[in-house]
Symmetry: C2
Subunit: 379 residues, 2 copies
């Protein structure tokens, strides 16, 4: 008995995108889905009630950060991450690997694991597949991620091949170390950079281990968008049809749509909340930088086509005022709007799959969002 | 026809405290009441929905701050402060005088007004009774405050007498300059420091002008608590019984109760939100500093006797984690709890007046809150 079950509902006849549901110990979420990121057991500036109001169905939290603060033992003592943060819907935690490689200094990779320094205190730490599992078992999310290496882009084929093979050995160690497979589903992570042969090797290694779900990692790390799409195009067919597929760290509107078209079910990214805290808003006609003086006397909502709580109640002029004054309500309203925007986009994607018209939806969305303009790369 | 009407409901037979209602263009609030402070048209970290959920009935905002950012013209163009910040219940604005005296440099007081420097840009500014009225008329609160001088404590009798007389002349100029008396009620401010003769002179001057409400200013500026209580004891009897009485800038739990006992109807203070942002919480048994290591594994609510949304849903351990990580949700949960604590305290005070037992309530509250302990002065 596995903790995670994927239910396929239909495939879009026009695009090949999948509509489905993922059943977890804390309920079911619809796919394709966007998962807001709650790094430290809080989606920055949002309360659990805010997340429910915008219909977030699953959130992500970060093993590395929770390991350091408050410590997985405290979260476990609270009754797990759901009770600790008062969120009763599904939670996914990453493995800590990405943060070890992106945040910490002096890391040294061995077959056993990774030596590195705590980015807050400088203290020496050692993370292994077994340690990542122990922490995630203590945190208690519905979905755990295998501990992998995420090499930077670009990486040499020789290095990447050795890394992929080590990641496969680590995946097997994770599976063996996972103490609660009936309560928590463990996903494997396919690596391999932009090398088709290595993506295939990684996918085959992991599929042979029979995980209840698979992620595609090592994308959105600096490579061009067409590389991401190509990798997804050849990688997803190697993954089992009856398991969910998760594209890690991707949250721009275009990539969510393009990922769904290539068979991805789950996405996460800090992008919507990170840009929100700088006053940058996602709207149906493209990005809006609400700090700009042009909005000082603009009493329209952020997005006139948006039905979110913020757009129903607050003006650009008021939100600009809050952001200019560093008032936290400004960060909160912008974060809420951007998260709602991506959650609502995925609801539209799901509806387009139901209607067998996701490619048409993509064309319409890209046109209004401004992707066909010269500066499309900025989106 | 005045915009503000005080309805007296009853007087506590035990304490002499007043129970009443104040009717305003944006609805009615019950007295004695605590008003959360929304300096820049936002109660820091709170949304209007949060304030309604905790049953805030009226909020205060600051003329000086809104004059500088975003500018009263923008608030007016939005349709007034209620529409600008999406708050449809009563609003009171101060006159700007207190901030001019407490925040700005190089101020120079003349009969005409006060020359000073903008605390943000250093720009030279000039605030007069007429200018304060013009700004407050543009902001559009239900209750406006007359422009006064608030001298520091202690001040010489000679200085204070000249200041009180000028404040009376300024009050008359405010009344003449007030352009919307049918939409907005203007309150006079009784000054005079700890000098009974000057408080009397100030009260008589202002009462002769027949304001729809009166404030007592210049308290909680460094004087001992017994001085505040003495001033209130002799000043409130000089104020008309059929008008609301507002004690400015006072928000500690003990002073709210002691002020009500001395006939005060309205209070405001930044204290609950300011200390909240440092992780200091008001509870039924005294202050709790949630940053302390003692709470790292304490999964009880902030206040086990509290029925607020925060105490019903979040633990000390989680809130401590958020505060230690500088997560804004931590500031928000602490601010919510503290504001709820004072609003709920005033509801208890109103109930005790109804039951003719406010002195008994005071004794009980001071006992559980720890005022009878040696460190009572810290509360």
């Amino acid at each position: 008995m596995t903790a995670i079950k994927y239910e396929h509902i239909k495939t879009c006849k026009q695009s090949g995108a999948r509509l489905g549901k993922v059943h977890t110990p804390h309920g079911t979420f619809e796919t394709p889905i966007f998962m807001p990121v709650g790094t430290l057991a809080t989606v920055k500036t949002m309360s659990p009630e805010d997340l429910k109001q915008m219909n977030a169905q699953i959130i992500l939290s970060n093993t590395y950060h929770l390991w350091l603060r408050p410590g997985e033992d405290i979260v476990e003592e609270a009754g797990g991450i759901h009770r600790f943060m008062n969120w009763d819907r599904p939670v996914l935690t990453d493995s800590g690997g990405f943060q070890v490689f992106s945040l910490s200094d002096l890391r040294h990779i061995t077959e056993e694991g990774v030596h590195f320094r705590n980015h807050l205190s400088g203290e020496k730490l050692f993370l292994t597949p077994e340690k990542s599992m122990q922490i995630q078992n203590a945190l208690g999310p519905d979905i755990m991620m295998a501990f992998d290496e995420c090499p930077p882009y670009p990486a040499e084929h020789t290095y990447m091949k050795a890394s992929v093979e080590r990641t496969s050995r680590w995946a097997e160690r994770c599976m063996k170390a996972h103490a609660r497979p009936e309560d928590q589903g463990l996903f494997g992570i396919v690596q391999g950079g932009e090398y088709e042969d290595l993506r295939r090797q990684s996918a085959e290694d992991l599929v042979s281990l029979d995980f209840p779900g698979y992620a595609i990692g090592g994308l959105s790390v600096g490579e061009p968008k067409n590389v991401m799409n190509e990798v997804l195009e050849y990688t997803t067919p190697w993954l089992p049809k009856d398991k969910p597929r998760y594209l890690m760290g991707v949250g721009s509107a275009d990539s969510l749509i393009d990922g769904a078209i290539r068979g991805i079910d789950m996405f996460d990214c800090v992008l919507p909340t990170r840009i929100a805290r700088n006053g940058t808003l996602m709207t149906s006609t493209g990005r809006l930088v609400v700090r700009n003086a042009a909005y000082a006397r603009d009493f329209r909502p952020i997005d006139e086509a948006c039905d979110c709580h913020v757009c129903q109640n607050h003006s650009r002029a008021y939100i600009r005022h809050l952001i200019k004054c560093n008032e936290t309500l400004g960060l909160r309203l912008c974060s809420y709007h951007n998260l709602h925007f991506l959650l609502n986009l995925m609801e539209q994607v799901r509806q387009a799959i139901r209607d067998d018209r996701l490619l048409d939806f993509r064309t319409e969305f890209f046109e209004t969002y401004g992707f066909n303009k010269a500066d499309a790369k900025n989106f």
